[in-house]
């Protein structure tokens, strides 16, 4: 809980610790499909959206590899409506056949709109299975293929629900203009009687250490060649996670970053370039992606990126440059906590990682990283034989 007396609103965030990594390899896309079904009515309330709108509320949700997050804001006087709605769908869903049929169609359209009907839309559908051979991060939250969604049955849905949608697998956070004396009894009233589910044993297949570089070349009807490079990186709870995040910022956070300045502005090897991390709980990916200048071939483009990586593994970064990316991280944390909803989401996320209060130590963890750590971590990340490269070629005369 977090209080803010300056707002007329309240925000509620519920995080369920279930994501795409918990899916059966033959039934992928399920966690995300489920997010849609959570709006199809619960055991005592036929419509989720209507009563929320009656209460002046607005809501949404998202699913990623590790968790599913539901959030809403509403005028503070109507906060109890949120508890009524959220507790009922935590207790049990209506499991309507129509809702399942329609949401399967909606998700199929989402698949087409964002992944197939879109230039470069299928990049992650290709890159992730290239980088992961065992761990469930090999598929995307939307699923491996549309057929997995189409085949989902009511039994699958019920099984998934009873396994993951339980109080012992959820985190509730309330922020805004609220009073704990009033809110705590309300939460106990609505959520207290919901039975816990079975304790979850999570054993995700570990990804064996990569020994050799992997490549994949595809040809698509797109205007420009694009290059995607991915390396495995430390998990969210490792100290080196922070170092790796800073490395991605040195390379590409802001227009003064290395890759943008050297490869887009000075030399124009690329028209666009980015380095980023997936930010997953288990070992995630460090990705560099770029769109090639039409006069440049893949070989030279990749070589230029490698050159920039070598600078990181051979030389120490200047103090000032390191301070720059640390300052940016600090500012971003401040910006993300401005709205009551942003606070509710962040607090839930840190509670999932360890405990909500840890959000206050986040800046320090980044500040503690030294220049030597950056070089050391860059050597580990970009070591020989650890690269996954996708060459995404533009069809000629298309």
């Amino acid at each position: 809980m977090h209080q803010d007396p300056h707002t007329p609103m309240a925000a509620v965030n519920i995080l369920y610790k279930v994501g795409a990594r918990d899916e059966d390899p033959e039934k992928t896309g399920f966690a995300h499909l489920f997010e849609h079904l959570m709006f199809g009515g619960s055991v005592n309330i036929p419509s989720y959206d209507n009563p929320l709108q009656q209460a002046g509320g607005e809501n949404n949700a998202f699913t990623n590899n590790d968790f599913t997050n539901y959030y809403l804001t509403l005028p503070k006087n109507n906060l109890e409506t949120a508890f009524w709605l959220e507790s009922d769908r935590m207790l049990s869903l209506a499991f309507s056949r129509k809702s399942l049929r329609v949401q399967k169609q909606v998700v199929t359209e989402e698949f087409k709109q964002n992944y197939l009907n879109q230039p470069y839309g299928d990049v992650y559908l290709l890159l992730k299975p290239l980088a992961y051979k065992h761990h469930p991060y090999q598929w995307n939250t939307i699923g491996k293929e549309i057929s997995h969604i189409e085949k989902a049955t009511m039994d699958d849905v019920k099984h998934f629900y009873s396994r993951y949608y339980n109080p012992n697998n959820a985190i509730l956070c309330v922020t805004g203009n609220i009073h704990p004396d009033k809110v705590i009894p309300q939460i106990e009233n609505w959520f207290g009687s919901i039975p816990s589910g079975a304790e979850l044993q999570r054993n995700y297949p570990a990804e064996p250490e990569q020994k050799e570089n992997r490549t994949l070349t595809v040809e698509r009807d797109v205007p420009q060649d694009a290059l995607y490079m991915a390396w495995h990186m430390p998990a969210r709870n490792e100290k080196e996670y922070y170092t790796s995040d800073l490395i991605s910022d040195l390379l590409s956070n802001g227009d003064s970053s290395r890759l943008f300045q050297r490869l887009v502005k000075d030399k124009q090897w690329f028209t666009d370039i980015n380095a980023y991390i997936t930010g997953d709980m288990d070992r995630g990916l460090f990705i560099i992606s770029g769109k090639l200048n039409p006069s440049v071939d893949f070989h030279s483009a990749e070589e230029q990126i490698e050159k920039e990586l070598t600078k990181l593994t051979e030389h120490l970064v200047e103090e000032e440059e390191l301070q720059k990316v640390k300052n940016k991280i600090e500012a971003n944390l401040v910006f993300s906590e401005i709205s009551i909803l942003g606070k509710a989401m962040s607090l839930s996320y840190f509670e999932m990682l360890s405990k909500a209060e840890d959000i206050n130590n986040e800046t320090e963890k980044y500040q503690a990283v030294r220049r030597e750590d950056i070089r050391e971590q860059a050597r580990k990340l970009f070591a020989e034989g650890k690269k996954n490269v996708l060459y995404y070629k533009a069809k000629k005369n298309s």
């Binding site: 803010d4 300056h6 707002t7 007329p8 609103m9 055991v43 005592n44 309330i45 209507n50 709108q53 009656q54 209460a55 002046g56 509320g57 607005e58 509403l74 005028p75 503070k76 006087n77 109507n78 409506t81 009524w84 009922d88 207790l91 049929r101 329609v102 949401q103 399967k104 169609q105 909606v106 199929t108 359209e109 709109q113 197939l116 009907n117 879109q118 230039p119 207290g192 009687s193 009807d221 797109v222 205007p223 420009q224 802001g254 227009d255 003064s256 887009v264 502005k265 124009q268 028209t271 666009d272 769109k291 301070q323 720059k324 940016k328 600090e330 500012a331 401040v334 401005i338 709205s339």
Partner: protein
């Protein structure tokens, strides 16, 4: 003790909360620039918006307004593009250019503790930008590349074509970008536009988040010194939009999995007494997740991931638009359903229960729009451009809450006529005529 609450009934709703928004205070810098204040001192972040009458409706060549806006920070008399971006990045700040049909400008987000370090830089960007030849060329090249990618998306094609369809060809609002527009862009064009429109008599500032008297002084010592050219810009009278005869436009994209639909018309000015009715009708039709279009096209039929209708406000004309991307196979069925939903509004009174839901939803939405220092700033920018005060929203919400089903039926018959709406389809068009 475990309690078992009554889950079959919704908890009683609380009292409706009053929308109580303070009009911002303001002061004037030495050079005459008005500064509006939306302080929120519980935050560590500060935001400064600098807004000029320099949107695309002022340009004599396509891309001129947006290119000037984007390239402001790519070089000044004394600083290179790299030095500027390095300073911004070092202090963790974001400088976001924005340009629309009427206004253009920049928003600076940063930590309060570093804000004084950034103001001298902003002074240079606003008053001493030089638009280096090389930066202009690079910009045009990159934008052209991005354009060719965007151009393949039915969504982008639809929005572009629809803009011309609804505002009319050769009008200030109906300009349509083409690939060769990028080749014409040059430094002289940008310098002309910059010198004419980025002037102190042509701007206002908005300062929000954490502020202090010291910051006001620092603002005056830097941006209060921006020199003007002393020649107020007088805009030639121009045609912002026309009513062309063309009503349907179909753009074919082979093998498209989805079709993008845009349907709408020029609609009421914000100051029109019936505007609140139109606003509420739009919300019912497609302005929120529980809307009729969303319930029917997404939740009932599964044709689409999303469908919305919205009213866009510009200084010289508003548009009402229904927008969606649908499964290509259902292009025709979706159009028929949209027509049906629009016509229903003029055929039957809105059920009381639905009207109550939407009114309550809007009550909450208005509170949300004005919640938090940065949302408040966003609302201020929108309304100030249209010449509206915050009290306008309070009054409009009160009017919305009093509307009756009879009044709405009359308004729908006047302003929601599908037969007068323009229709744009990009994607699968072979079954259309």
């Amino acid at each position: 003790m475990t309690t078992y609450p009554d889950r079959n009934h919704a908890p009683a709703l609380g009292h409706a909360q009053i929308l109580n928004i303070q009009e911002p205070e303001s002061f004037t810098l030495d050079n005459g620039i008005p500064v509006f204040l939306l302080p929120a001192n519980q935050q560590e972040a500060t935001r400064l918006d600098i807004v000029f009458d320099a949107g695309s409706s002022f340009q004599t060549q396509k891309l001129q307004a947006s290119a000037v806006n984007k390239l402001l920070k790519e070089g000044t008399r004394n600083k290179s593009s790299y030095e500027i971006t390095k300073t911004l990045d070092f202090y963790g700040a974001y400088l976001e250019p924005f340009s629309g049909k009427d206004k253009a400008g920049i928003t600076l987000f940063g930590l309060y503790k570093y804000f004084d370090k950034l103001l001298p830089l902003i002074f240079e960007i606003i008053s001493e930008a030089v638009f280096p030849e090389e930066e202009v060329r690079l910009y045009a090249e990159r934008k052209k590349q991005q354009f060719t990618i965007q151009y393949q998306k039915v969504r982008y094609r639809a929005s572009m074509e629809y803009n011309e369809l609804i505002f009319g060809k050769n009008t200030a609002y109906g300009q349509k970008l083409e690939e060769n527009d990028f080749d014409i862009l040059c430094r002289d064009l940008l310098v002309d536009f910059y010198q004419l429109h980025y002037q102190p008599h042509n701007t206002y500032f908005l300062l929000g988040g954490k502020t202090s008297p010291e910051l006001f002084k620092q603002l005056n010592d830097t941006l209060g010194k921006i020199p003007g050219n002393g020649q107020p810009f007088l805009s030639e009278p121009k045609v912002y939009w026309t009513q062309d005869e063309e009503q349907y436009r179909y753009v074919t994209k082979e093998n498209a999995l989805q079709s993008a639909l845009r349907i709408g018309n020029i609609t009421l000015e914000r100051s029109h007494p019936d505007y609140p009715k139109l606003y509420l009708l739009n919300t019912i039709l497609g302005g929120y997740f529980g809307s009729r279009l969303m319930s029917s096209l997404r939740e009932d039929k599964g044709y689409t991931y999303g469908v919305y209708s919205s009213i866009e406000n510009f200084k010289h004309g508003n548009s009402l638009t229904i927008a969606t991307e649908v499964n290509a196979e259902h292009t025709v069925a979706a159009l028929i359903e949209i027509e049906h939903q629009v016509e229903l509004l003029s055929q039957h009174k809105i059920p009381d229960r639905e009207l109550e839901t939407v009114k309550n939803y809007l009550q909450g939405s208005f509170l949300r729009y004005f919640d938090g220092p940065f949302s408040l700033a966003d609302q201020f920018l929108k309304s100030h451009s249209l010449g509206l005060n915050f009290v306008h929203y309070k009054e409009m919400l009160e009017q919305v809450m009093d509307l009756t089903t009879g009044e709405l039926l009359d308004a729908a018959r006047k302003y929601m006529d599908f037969k007068k709406m323009k229709v744009l389809v990009a994607g699968k068009t072979d079954e259309l005529k």
